[in-house]
């Protein structure tokens, strides 16, 4: 594109030439449209139209069993959210779960990625495959297996705990333990996140580690001051994805609680409550409003994260990490990388 422009732009701008340029541009636009058409059509059919439909439905009392009884009720569904104790409970369950699971999965995925990236590990490719393999198992199947593993009296986990003299909790029937149990299950699915971290780790130039070593940095200092800043864009991406996934958590909770949020609503996640309203009680209007609330919450959190990203994400030379405790002239290694500190970035003073 830029080559074409460079070739064309200096030419005289006669009307005829302009017409030719326009024709080329139109042809290119048309070709581009053809290529992106499958996405656009798919997006319109399966995302845009349902979104518009759900927005419209959220302003009604639509019940699919009584389609003729639909009424426009304005913002009543949104007003109902303010006084719906079950919704508040489900929001609490989801928030607590997100606070537990997001850091847990990020730390576990990064830890495993560092492990399988380590030169000290023999058979790294085998381990990478093994850690990724759970991703190939359907969620429902793996959840059913986990239900067996976590069973209070017959589960392997409690057998193991008993073997070392620890009392095994009632993982899935206790309102306290069911959250951690689901978090534990979540670790089963860190394969994707691990791969992304692994890619990030492998893109860190070894020169930076060499320079840090020369500066006397140990393993922790290298990790803290080289690895983390260098993979911060990847960390940021995984954080956003993990947060969205936590708010969209559904399948495992549905299987574990028979779709009802058992025990005592301790697994009534936001999406499970939404599902119950839509397909359990046929309150399609209210469920649509809940879907929009979820959209707004996730959008809001994502925006907040993007706002904070400027202070801790280092990408494309836009920002360089400061080295705490170092005086001027004792900054980070002077090695520059296009993926970290670009040419425009000055060394810290």
């Amino acid at each position: 594109m830029s080559t074409t422009q460079a070739a064309i732009e200096p030419l005289p701008t006669s009307p005829r030439r302009r017409g030719g340029w326009r024709a080329v541009r139109e042809r290119e636009s048309l070709t581009g449209l053809v290529f992106v058409a499958p996405f656009i059509v798919g997006f319109i059919l399966f995302s845009a139209i349902p979104m518009v439909a759900s927005l419209v439905l959220s302003l009604t009392d639509f019940d699919p069993r009584e389609p003729d009884e639909i009424h426009f009720i304005g913002l009543a569904n949104y007003q109902q959210m303010l006084t719906d104790p079950v919704l508040h409970e489900s929001l609490g369950v989801t928030l607590r779960f997100a606070l537990l699971v997001v850091p847990l999965t990020l730390a576990a995925a990064l830890g495993v990625a560092m492990l399988v990236n380590s030169k000290l590990l023999a058979g790294r490719n085998v381990f990478r495959t093994l850690f990724y393999m759970p991703m190939q198992i359907p969620l429902v199947a793996s959840t059913i297996v986990w239900i067996g593993v976590l069973h209070a009296t017959t589960g392997w986990l409690n057998y193991g705990l008993e073997a070392v003299g620890l009392p095994g909790p009632n993982w899935l029937q206790s309102t306290f333990w069911v959250g951690p149990a689901l978090g534990l299950m979540g670790l089963w699915g860190i394969g994707n996140m691990m791969l992304i971290f692994l890619a990030g780790l492998q893109s860190v130039p070894t020169e930076l580690y060499d320079a840090a070593k020369v500066d006397g940095a140990g393993s922790w200092a290298s990790f803290r001051h080289v690895t983390l800043p260098m993979i911060s864009p990847v960390l940021f991406y995984n954080l956003i994805i993990a947060l969205i996934a936590a708010f969209q958590y559904f399948t495992q909770a549905f299987v574990v609680s028979n779709g009802r949020g058992d025990p005592d609503r301790a697994t009534l996640f936001f999406n499970l409550n939404l599902y119950r309203e839509a397909f359990g009680f046929f309150h399609m209007g209210y469920a649509s409003a809940l879907a929009w609330l979820l959209f707004v919450i996730v959008l809001g959190l994502t925006v907040v994260l993007f706002k904070t990203a400027g202070s801790w994400v280092f990408a494309g030379g836009e920002r360089c990490p400061r080295w705490p405790g170092r005086s001027a002239g004792r900054g980070p290694p002077r090695v520059r990388s296009a993926t970290t500190c670009g040419d425009s970035v000055r060394s810290p003073r």
Binding site: V56, T60, R65, D68, I70, H151, S174, G280, F281
Partner: protein, 480 residues
């Protein structure tokens, strides 16, 4: 090129989006076609089939909301449909079978799309409540139909707010399945098979059952639940269960407390009757205090919820349909010698056999109610269907053949099926699955309570039930 410029190049994109939005708004807010009035069914339902040629009317029979969707059941249903189509020329009956897990949602979607089937079922009392408002009142149709062979209380079970939404086809009384081997091992007498009979000199009440169940409950060290050394954390055999009640607090209240309703006679006030409170307390204490009933965790470890099949439950209150599942599909059965016993007298002074029943209903959106009722009449009179659904016929004269089939299946055991017939005389009325305003939400709230009782020790049950009544009142009120 920024995003705005890009959008500006394709103004035509706004057109389909706008059209889609308008269509959706129209679809969502439009009134659609009004249901066809059912006309004068009583008059037409009893008309003799016309001898003159007619254009066949298509009637769709939707199966999947209850039993009937299993692979081995479908050919039998197809055969009955073929037999009906061969018997006349004016109605073309079509069979649609949908997986049970999707059937309710699919039906709701089809109703929303004005593409509803005509006949639905077999379907139980509870599931029927979900679509109660959409069902045709069969009252005018059955006015001239001979239903004398069906108990009136069973017919009443399908009368919701004065509307007869179904005719009982299959009935499933509940009674006690007991594992004779465990009784023999504990050297205890079997429970009674006759109403009014005593057990070891005591009246057959839930209090007697409690004593018996505690003697039958044994921990892994061999101590029974009456022993001071009994270890409730390691129970090997439980004395009593009421399996497959799916957390339903109404069901448990009925089993152990007798008939009742969370809806007062005025049709709007929520309540939890005293006999239900007593019954539920009995059940709750059985789990957490006396330990002869398994809690939810234990249930999951006992044949994945099919507790009696595990061979570790001495007595189990279940319905007639449980004959389906006493033995596992594969492998050696854990239960080899079993029989059935009558239910005891409850705190209300009565025997109550919680009843399940299946029927077939007609959606009031049908454009051909007369033809639909004619097809329904044929289906409900087809013993082949009852047999393939494993159901006890609501029509009395068909029952002997049903029990003979069971005898063949369970030979050489000689199960006392007379117990089942006896218990049919004590159905819960009102049904534990009866109508409640805002049914789905209220039903879910009751199951939430059941889940809590099943998993949480140390609750003040009266306080929980008071809170439940308050919750239910809010749900009932929101229906208006």
């Amino acid at each position: 090129m920024n995003d705005n410029q890009r959008t500006g190049e394709w103004p035509w994109m706004r057109i389909p989006v706008a059209v889609a939005a308008v269509v959706l708004v129209g679809a969502a807010c439009g009134s659609g076609a009004s249901p066809t009035p059912s006309g004068t069914p009583a008059a037409t339902a009893t008309e003799a089939p016309s001898a003159t040629p007619c254009t066949p009317v298509e009637i769709e029979w939707y199966v999947g909301l209850g039993t009937g969707e299993n692979e081995e059941q479908i050919p039998q249903e197809e055969a009955v449909v073929a037999a009906f189509n061969d018997s006349q020329d004016c109605i073309d009956l079509k069979l649609t079978v949908v997986d049970n897990t999707e059937a309710a949602d699919t039906l709701a979607t089809r109703i929303a799309a004005n593409d509803a089937p005509d006949i639905i079922g077999p379907i139980g009392i509870r599931a029927l409540q979900s679509f109660g408002d959409q069902l045709l009142d069969l009252g005018p149709y059955i006015a001239d139909v001979d239903l004398s062979e069906i108990d009136q209380s069973l017919i009443d079970a399908y009368n919701v707010g004065g509307k007869q939404i179904g005719i009982p086809m299959a009935v499933y009384p509940s009674f006690i399945y007991y594992n004779k081997s465990l009784f023999d091992e504990a050297e205890l007498a079997y429970p009674p098979h006759e109403v009014g009979a005593q057990y070891e000199g005591q009246d057959w009440t839930w209090a007697t059952v409690r004593e018996l169940a505690m003697k039958l409950t044994v921990d892994t060290n061999g101590n029974d639940a009456t022993s001071a050394s009994f270890d409730p954390a390691n129970v090997d055999v439980y004395g009593l269960d009421a399996q497959f009640t799916e957390n339903d607090a109404r069901a448990w209240s009925t089993v152990f407390g007798g008939s009742g309703s969370v809806l007062a006679a005025d049709g709007t006030t929520a309540q939890w009757p005293d006999n239900w409170r007593t019954g539920l307390q009995y059940f709750y204490d059985g789990i957490w205090k006396d330990h002869f009933v398994p809690n939810q965790t234990a249930v999951q470890a006992l044949a994945a919820g099919n507790t009696f099949q595990s061979g570790r439950i001495a007595m189990d209150v279940v319905h007639q349909w449980y004959t389906c599942c006493v033995y596992p599909g594969e492998g050696t059965p854990a239960v080899t010698d079993w029989d059935i016993a009558v239910l005891p007298v409850g705190p209300d002074g009565n025997i109550t056999s919680k009843l399940h029943a299946d029927t077939i209903g007609i959606l009031d959106s049908t454009e051909n109610p007369d033809q639909a009722f004619e097809a329904l009449g044929f289906l409900s009179q087809s013993p082949e269907l009852i047999t393939t659904w494993g159901a006890m016929p609501a029509i009395e004269s068909q029952r002997a053949a049903f029990f003979e089939g069971l005898d063949e299946r369970f030979a050489p055991l000689e199960i006392d099926w007379n117990v089942s017939t006896l218990m049919l005389a004590y159905p819960d009325n009102p049904s534990h699955e009866a109508f409640m305003p805002n049914f789905l939400e209220a039903d879910s709230a009751n199951k939430d309570l059941g889940s809590k009782l099943w998993t949480t020790p140390g609750l003040d049950l009266d306080a929980e039930l008071d809170a439940q009544v308050e919750l239910l009142q809010g749900i009932f009120d929101s229906a208006n």
